[in-house]
Symmetry: D2
Subunit: 334 residues, 4 copies
Amino acid sequence: MELRIGVIGTGAIGEDHIRRLTDTITGARVVALSDINKENAMRVSKKYNVTFYETGYEVIWSPDVDAVVIASWDPTHAEFVLECIKAKKHVLCEKPLGTSAEECMEIVKAEAAGGKKLVQVGFMRRYDKGYRKLKEIIESGEIGEPLMIHCCHRNRVPGPQHTTDMTIKNSGIHEIDILRWLLGEDYESGQVLMAKQNQNALDGLKDPQIMLLKTKSGVRIDAEVNMNSHYGYDIQCEVVGEKGVIRLPDPISILKKKSGMGSHEILADWSQRFVEAYDVEFQQWINSIKESGPVGPNAWDGYVAAVTADTLIKARKLKTIEPIILEPQPAFYC
Amino acid sequence: MELRIGVIGTGAIGEDHIRRLTDTITGARVVALSDINKENAMRVSKKYNVTFYETGYEVIWSPDVDAVVIASWDPTHAEFVLECIKAKKHVLCEKPLGTSAEECMEIVKAEAAGGKKLVQVGFMRRYDKGYRKLKEIIESGEIGEPLMIHCCHRNRVPGPQHTTDMTIKNSGIHEIDILRWLLGEDYESGQVLMAKQNQNALDGLKDPQIMLLKTKSGVRIDAEVNMNSHYGYDIQCEVVGEKGVIRLPDPISILKKKSGMGSHEILADWSQRFVEAYDVEFQQWINSIKESGPVGPNAWDGYVAAVTADTLIKARKLKTIEPIILEPQPAFYC
Amino acid sequence: MELRIGVIGTGAIGEDHIRRLTDTITGARVVALSDINKENAMRVSKKYNVTFYETGYEVIWSPDVDAVVIASWDPTHAEFVLECIKAKKHVLCEKPLGTSAEECMEIVKAEAAGGKKLVQVGFMRRYDKGYRKLKEIIESGEIGEPLMIHCCHRNRVPGPQHTTDMTIKNSGIHEIDILRWLLGEDYESGQVLMAKQNQNALDGLKDPQIMLLKTKSGVRIDAEVNMNSHYGYDIQCEVVGEKGVIRLPDPISILKKKSGMGSHEILADWSQRFVEAYDVEFQQWINSIKESGPVGPNAWDGYVAAVTADTLIKARKLKTIEPIILEPQPAFYC
Amino acid sequence: MELRIGVIGTGAIGEDHIRRLTDTITGARVVALSDINKENAMRVSKKYNVTFYETGYEVIWSPDVDAVVIASWDPTHAEFVLECIKAKKHVLCEKPLGTSAEECMEIVKAEAAGGKKLVQVGFMRRYDKGYRKLKEIIESGEIGEPLMIHCCHRNRVPGPQHTTDMTIKNSGIHEIDILRWLLGEDYESGQVLMAKQNQNALDGLKDPQIMLLKTKSGVRIDAEVNMNSHYGYDIQCEVVGEKGVIRLPDPISILKKKSGMGSHEILADWSQRFVEAYDVEFQQWINSIKESGPVGPNAWDGYVAAVTADTLIKARKLKTIEPIILEPQPAFYC
């Protein structure tokens, strides 16, 4: 039995998900799509032979659609997710779940009220082989208790609309979610350091930033978020434990010796870096909702990430160390 | 439209292919299986809800089966492939295509006579990301003409039935095929050196061996085939060109620093090492036979590999440098 | 003409310097030594055939001694250095120059008053090939302006007398000096984060710590100082520039593949890690004082390091971000 | 007491040895030099304040000279070494010891007849930290018996006078000596394969070559000797044992991430690669002849290397596998 998927948003990432669901994922097929940019949506509709709908709402309520993927403009995520909950349909929403903690909390409450797990958030790093292996080693106890994590999130260049807040809200949020997942505990406080300004940055963009996080148990995290590395897309993560250290592997690449140099290619963007993680994320999502329901990052995880990002942005503006304060977690998510 | 697959042979690799076709590959499903070990075949039949057939022939001729995967005992490969050709069904046959050059030539002739490409051989390394990237760089001309290739094929321990000939015929054959594919040219001659005998080897097993190959254009290859590396499954390949050198990447693994050592895990066997290559091989095979027919390693490639392996075994026994002589290539394969 | 050296302090590092000056360094020989532990000093005196003196003062004032190396107990450094200045003799003093900023300032003033550069401080990392190469690349402009530095100083275990303050004053001080030298600029402010407590640490020792420094131009530094890495002595340094990133190399070590692992040995202590840096430091010091005078880290550098360490310790205790305030630099050192 | 050294040959390597003995080595100084190129010899004589002699013979017999370093044109090595033996002076002769096995045997006989070890051959790789560590691990038994060695000797470009024979006689000879030393056993037979011709090679130069050696106990060696790697000077060595594999480390170099690449510099020539090995070689030679006599590679080692190189050249020309036959080893060298 194939799951019939509706996709809202057919920009770069939305179209890529349609391709993924069509060519790579087994057990599902895309039957509906919509996008605010109609012209492009029509093109994709023809290319993949998928029915075009005028609005995301129509996609969600279509009787032909079993589950929904949301890859539309960030500010529309929350309303579509809420509608899916209303329609009692499974939904995989690209991060962020909402543009603020409040929006996310509204979703959390709606889902809990509905009494059924329907929402999964697109934190695809949790499906990356390297991060999974890191978590496995941490949980084995082999390096003792984790004490610190050093990481970097480096983009080659930011998108043209990138803002200083988005560095945390859109890029840093991946670090926020994955490190909380790796450690299995919540954050206590956060601080943001502005590094020396990169002269290559967009007009007015403050870049790079360093997010400092402290977990409830005292683990210290420093995460460089650098939108203008200039050299490539580079994700680093080192976990320092009481008895040893482990480091996230780089993607495989050919060693080439030429012209006085041994070199490895560095990827240019996230879509190459995490292509397999996306494949695994989607396959597991499809499989899980055919079985007992989604097991990936849920609405509560989306809420926690949003609170943390909001708090870090505040801490950056005030140059303070801010406590990260969550509402009580509904029993529904425990 | 899903392709209906019959699988002959449900040993370790056959069962793994059934799992792959069921859980990972899109556009196909397994509908028939058989194995000489009925008990195990029945178990797999139940596990994956696939109809059991008494013989491979029944699988091949079943009207429910669109295409066949052969993963049975090596000596049965050729007869089943010939039957598939007779039944005009696509077949993906695990390597080796036949146990001798003669068997392979019979297949080549039968397929050419039938006038339709039906046979693909399971040289999965051609789908490995690392080898593909090596080929891409070679063909770009970036390192100039290739002059030499140094490689190693190391197993941790050999299987219990392993023989001195199998080192070349079953393990070395992967090197034989992949290097010919990488370079895009045929071999001229071969020689085998016996290294110092590993005392850990099975009774009577001569191990390790070094295959020396020379291509038509003069490229020199040395390929260690070592069944008792003791430490893991390790595949290395370095291409030395006129202007540079490139090396096959190792699979990703976590750097762990502990107890006075920085370490990386080394895989234990081929199934882990080439799991993604198998996935890509099967998906591309399924896709291709729905379209214009198979584009992977064909019967002629299987024949060339068999001739080369046979010649190397002869060279090893005679301690000579032997010419590698192929029959004329049928126009059908050009 | 061989320089005649007196060595004050014949503990582990003092004895090693005597060995170095005797067996490795050209153009110098050790003629005098003293130590508070007379028994051990006598042993070393015999072993290297060097005259024993009752006190450091006698070594300094001996007419047989051209220049002095101080490797005694930290609290005695400043007084011996001041005595060398009084005696107008060149002195290479192991770090720290003094146990407080005040002691160092006294030396700075005395040396400036004397009008001759006599003091060099044993910040041997400046002679490490890796750090030298980092500095060369930074200064070439190849990676643009440095924006951030991430580093780690990890000991396997602390010495038995180690205290929470010493983590910064004795270990972290190497980072403080080398990064200021790498960047060629002074610090503006500092902060210290306590990571989650390592349960392996000595009784009462707060470990690990993270020093955060900001330079005058805005470069941000995070430096883990970890006395209980448990796995070895490990020094890491990554400089993030506007256009690229460079990383300090690890010392060479054999790749060994065995028992399912590829591994590299990690050194156990600083004496192995920086043995060549010490050799170069001493040879260049000997050469320089025969020529136009010492060119290595000077008393002012020792003072700056002490001020920075003191400020960081204060910041750690107060949990604040503290400005790093230097007295005006005497023209003598410009 | 300083050893007074005479240096014969003041070309690139000779001048570098004078610099080394003057600036880096302790316990020796250069007091005499000569060269067939008088003009250059005079320049070096002034630069290092060393007495110029008209001929190598005068250097050898000068009463001011305690020991001799020979770095002259290869064909003159043997006669100067023989003269040193006559003069009963210690001599460190750059490789090769002679231009043929016969010349080397003459030296062996003369030295043995004199009854005193006086000759050391400049196989500096034996002093390289990486090779020393390989030998240490082999001898520890940790990887079991060595079974195979894979190695590469790659030059960026050959010198202008380079010939096809010199590839083995001058470059390959380093591999010949170091592998025999690593394994602690002699060779039984050799073969040479010509790889595909590098179009970048000098007119008439056959390059690259692969030397195949088999030791008495059956260890198989393949050694690529490649004069036109084009990319740099690169020395690789992998020892495959019964239970594990070890690999020679590359020299340290900075990891630089820039412009879509992570890269390491590769050295351009041997003088950079083995600079520390030369330092250690000279220091140990000086120390040893002050004590009980030289302990480095001796005349017999020079003879064995010459026989092996001669045999390999013959094997290359005849395209055969040739036995490597040594004269009986004089008891003097056992």
